[in-house]
């Protein structure tokens, strides 16, 4: 049921011309995926999915859409072969999916261990801060870099201002020389 909801939302996201409707459909995808994570015994990931994707990222996207006051997507005037390319790629990927489906169905069905605790927040946190400490810290540095990059990109600095900044820097260097 959630799978059907996810697929329907995803298709409506690609189909809608107005980016705001697409964004709302994408929230639908995220929420149904989060429900699927709960059925997969991963409550922590489900909560994080709602918090980060549906909460943070989508708010950012919707803000940008409103800030830029976007209108509807105009019809594609790119080269026509892109349609063929997209359709072909879609068919190939779907065929691959069906093949995987078939292969997994044929494989011996091993039921999931019902008593395992892998999805619990405790075990996840323990793994995160013992075995995988280095990746977690790298992710922290990456987030810091992203914050700095976003601030620099979003800061409005016109050409005269930039020249002023450069002049100031040069002056300081000049003083340091003496």
């Amino acid at each position: 049921m959630f799978a059907g909801l996810a697929i329907a939302s995803a298709i409506s996201m690609v189909y809608h011309k107005n980016p705001l409707y697409s964004a709302i459909s994408l929230v639908g995808v995220f929420i149904s995926l989060s429900c699927i994570y709960v059925t997969l015994a991963a409550p922590f990931i489900a909560a994080v999915q709602i918090l980060i994707y549906a909460g943070a990222i989508m708010v950012l996207v919707v803000f940008v859409i409103m800030l830029l006051n976007l209108d509807d997507d105009k019809p594609l005037n790119r080269l026509r072969y892109l349609y063929a390319l997209g359709g072909g790629l879609g068919v190939i990927l779907l065929a691959q999916t069906l093949f995987i489906f078939y292969a997994v169905m044929k494989a011996p069905n091993t039921p999931a261990d019902q008593t395992m605790t892998a999805g619990k927040t405790l075990s996840l946190g323990r793994a995160m801060y013992t075995e995988y400490l280095l990746p977690v810290e790298i992710v922290g540095v990456l987030l810091l870099m992203a914050i700095i990059g976003a601030v620099i990109l979003a800061r409005r600095l016109s050409q005269p201002q930039l020249e002023l900044v450069v002049e100031h820097e040069l002056e300081l260097e000049h003083k340091a020389d003496h």
């Binding site: 990931i45 999915q49 997507d73 594609l76 069906l98 995987i100």
Partner: protein, 101 residues
Amino acid sequence: MEPSLASYLALSGILFTIGCVGVIFKRNAIGMFMCIELMLNAVNLTFVTFSRYYGDVTGQLFVFMVMSVAAAEAAVGLGIIITFFRNSQSVDVDDASILKN
């Protein structure tokens, strides 16, 4: 009855396909951005599924990493989109051709 491993993988594959086709069909940068998010989510679903069926926590940990990277990507990507809009008054990816001579 619990759905099988294959059905989760099929859902993930279908979502990935939709996202991939969307990236090609969409013209506007924000639409493409959202389709990329959809593809990332499809991969996350695969990670969680295998984590469940192998009883291993590593898969879920990597989902967490993917989410952090997606958040970073969202911040930087939307910053780039805003800057681009300021310069060219559109978010159409076909207008992003000033590097082309």
